[in-house]
């Protein structure tokens, strides 16, 4: 165990902006930021002018995929309850222990038993054993009565409820968003309003209960408008998005590309633009990977039979850095989207570089060029809709709890 570690010669991403210098770590915590005197017993890492940033906190992954998380600079992952159905205490404990020491996994408790949307799961007991919130899983809760009681119950325990915003009846068996691409391909599609409908109901229930809500992925202009208005009213609502919905529209499905089969489905270009605006104006709180690796047995299928989801963990940072290069956000805001906000919303350590915080740190060469290659991924599977895309930005070093792991 190293008692002190100094990362020097970098540009430190702090909530107040970039600071020249480094970070001094003692006993797993940040002791000093910027310029400081080097103690004698210190281990040194020279950042060589690279960014020194907080480790990413990825909200809403569907698999514990350590190689992908490490490659992507994700030091904490908030796990969806779908895999193995985390609706009991032992499963929460198992999930929480699964990633250590390199990645800490923070499970979300299943909101309802077996994620069926009918009866409340043992949320309180699961929270006591490490669940950092509750989640409805891949689907929405159709019964508004159940949703109302869930929000009230979870809210009283201080837990944020994570929802999938898609009206299940309107979405039906759709695999795409209504539009020219779906019509040309002859794929079952649903109107984009399926999302706003679900968001509208849940926002009304938030207003009724006062309970905090997190919409895991918001992907449409209409839903963003509703959330923007709700935030203005002061409702405790937050939302996330994945790079896929920021950089791709439904045209990416052309040719029946199953790697672009996502849930919620890719939207049209005007919705994509609205999502970028939602990042710029702060309506969207965080960017997540939605990491959901699927091998060929789940993806090399006719489009409607393929599983939705993408392996996004190791491309999250590089894709998101494009938002900085495009001038949409500053680098400090980007790392708030990727680390700071997730930590605040789910009460997790880390996520920020300031004295006293948990020392989950990255050294990031934000210009390093590389190409996303489906066949060459660290993840459990290479199902990325960004296959072949040249990107910039690589994690050079990762420090978890003050210990260099990469």
């Amino acid at each position: 165990m190293v008692s002190a570690l100094a990362i020097t010669g970098g540009r430190v991403v702090t909530p107040q902006g970039l600071v020249e210098g480094g970070v001094l770590v003692r006993d797993g915590r940040i002791a000093a930021v910027g310029g400081f005197d080097l103690p004698g017993d210190v281990e040194r890492i020279d950042a060589r002018g690279a960014l020194i940033a907080p480790g990413l906190i990825d909200v809403g992954v569907f698999a514990i995929d350590k190689p992908a998380f490490v490659a992507g600079g994700i030091t904490r992952a908030v796990l969806m309850p779908d895999q193995g159905g985390i609706d009991t205490v032992p499963l929460v404990q198992h999930a929480a222990a699964a990633g250590k020491p390199k990645v800490w996994v923070h499970p979300l408790a299943a909101a309802t038993r077996g994620l069926k949307g009918e009866e409340l799961a043992e949320i309180g007991l699961m929270a006591r054993d490490g669940a950092c919130g509750v989640a409805t899983g891949r689907g929405w809760i159709a019964d508004s009565g159940v949703m109302y009681r869930l929000l009230g119950y979870a809210g009283a325990l201080g837990l944020r409820t994570v929802v999938h915003a898609e009206d299940g009846d309107l979405a039906g068996n759709a695999v795409m968003t209504d539009g020219e691409t779906a019509t040309r391909l002859g794929l079952a599609a649903a109107p984009a309003e399926a999302e706003a409908l679900a968001v509208a109901r849940d926002l009304l229930l938030v207003e009724a209960t006062g309970a905090p809500l997190h919409i895991r992925q918001v992907t449409t202009a209409r839903a963003l408008d509703l959330i923007r208005a709700a935030k203005k009213k002061g409702l405790p609502v937050s939302c996330g998005i994945t790079p896929a919905h920021l950089f791709l529209s439904d045209i990416a499905v052309t040719g029946f590309r199953t790697f672009a089969r996502l849930s919620p489905p890719l939207r049209d270009e005007s919705d994509r633009q609205a999502c970028l605006a939602g990042i710029a104006d702060g309506t969207i709180d965080l960017i997540c990977s939605g990491h959901d690796p699927h091998g060929p047995e789940a993806k090399r299928l006719p489009f409607i039979d393929a599983e939705p989801g993408m392996a996004g963990a190791e491309t999250l940072l590089a894709l998101s850095l494009a938002l900085v290069r495009d001038g949409l956000v500053g680098v400090e805001r980007l790392f708030d989207l990727l680390a700071g906000a997730p930590a605040r919303l789910f009460g997790l350590p880390g996520g920020v570089i300031e004295a006293g915080a948990e020392a989950d740190l990255l050294v990031v060469d934000s210009d390093a060029p590389w190409r996303i290659e489906s066949d060459n991924m660290a993840a459990a599977a290479g199902n990325t809709p960004f296959d072949g895309l040249p990107v910039q930005g690589r994690v050079v070093r990762t420090i978890k709890g003050g210990v260099p792991i990469q």
């Binding site: 794929l187 052309t254 006719p302 409607i304």
Partner: protein, 327 residues
């Protein structure tokens, strides 16, 4: 934007039909469509004679792999293959045994290993034929994939129209009924707009796909307005097996609002041609007397043209394989 175009094969650029497969009309140039129609004409003549045989495909194996039930399309491809001298094998795959896709890929690899020279595929999932085409070495013909495309149906419809009307360019074609679930409609929209027709889609709003206008057609929910002055009235089968979602209240109401009767047909041009891809729901989308009117209806002729068009496609797609000069 084109969806899953038949991919040009490097060796065939410069030939009149530089495609390895026929997975859809999307990706075909107008002159390539016209070329297939021209090629089909000779087979119409052959088929009308007594010795309906040509042996240019002798020694080649055609596999008809139908993952979805079909009678007429399967029969049509079988006859087309046999009239050209190919060894034709029909594989009717029960939907229950081949349900999920890795099996579909495995099936493709199996067919490929048997050294088929042509594979004709029908499948109930949009895109499934392209998935197989990407895995095999021989030409693949799409005999219908989900709601996506049914290119040989569009070709036979175009040939029927061209023979009856003398042209396609400038005609007003009304495609009526369940457009949403229809691969026939999609392929016809692509081919008829490419060949210069003015295409309308007509049907209840629940059965018209969103943004269908982006495919270059005009959308009508009023049947009479959609038929007004049309030169060709193409009725679609109401896919009753796909009606689980309740897209129309009843067959009775559907017939009253969107069924083609003589009264309705009077709105179209005086010499309007009536078409239907079959099998018909008589008394639902089309009245029997209209369907059986040999002056107005080209429905049996469509079936006849189907064999000729499929012979042309099998011939053209195997030319490189057979070493025909210039291919």
């Amino acid at each position: 934007m084109s969806s899953s175009p038949t991919r040009p094969d490097d060796g065939r650029l410069g030939s009149p039909f530089p495609h390895r497969h026929l997975t859809g009309i999307a990706g075909l140039q107008p002159h390539e469509i016209a070329f297939l129609l021209d090629e089909a004409e000779q087979w119409v003549q052959l088929n009308r004679g007594t010795a309906k045989h040509d042996d240019r495909l002798a020694g080649l194996t055609l596999i008809n792999a139908f993952f979805e039930n079909s009678t007429r399309t399967l029969l049509s491809f079988e006859i087309a293959g046999k009239r050209l001298g190919a060894d034709v094998v029909n594989m009717a795959v029960a939907q229950s045994s081949v349900k999920k896709g890795e099996t579909l890929i495995d099936t493709a690899i199996t067919l490929n290993a048997m050294r088929a020279d042509m594979i004709v595929i029908r499948h109930d999932s949009s895109g499934a034929v392209q998935l197989i085409a990407d895995k095999v070495d021989c030409p693949v013909l799409n005999a219908g994939d989900g709601r996506h495309e049914h290119p040989t149906q569009a070709l036979l419809d175009a040939l029927t129209i061209r023979r009856r009307k003398g042209r396609i360019e400038g005609l007003v074609v009304a495609i009526c009924g369940d457009v949403l679930h229809s691969r026939v409609a999609r392929s016809n929209i692509l081919s008829l707009t490419a060949l210069g027709a003015e295409v309308r889609v007509v049907g209840p709003p629940t059965l018209l796909p969103p943004q269908i206008e982006r495919m270059g057609v005009t959308r009508f929910t009023d049947f009479d307005a959609g038929l007004d002055g049309a030169d060709v009235v193409m009725m679609l089968r109401l896919q009753r097996e796909r009606m689980a979602g309740g897209f129309v209240p009843s067959l009775r109401e559907y017939h009253a609002l969107y069924g083609l009767t003589y009264d309705r047909l009077a709105k179209a041009a005086p010499d309007a041609l009536v078409m239907h891809p079959g099998p018909m729901n008589r008394g639902v989308e089309i009245a029997s007397d209209v369907a059986d009117d040999l002056e107005r209806s080209a429905i049996t002729e469509q079936v006849e043209m189907g064999v000729a068009v499929r012979m042309a496609c099998l011939d053209v797609l195997t030319r490189a394989r057979r070493g025909v000069a210039g291919w």
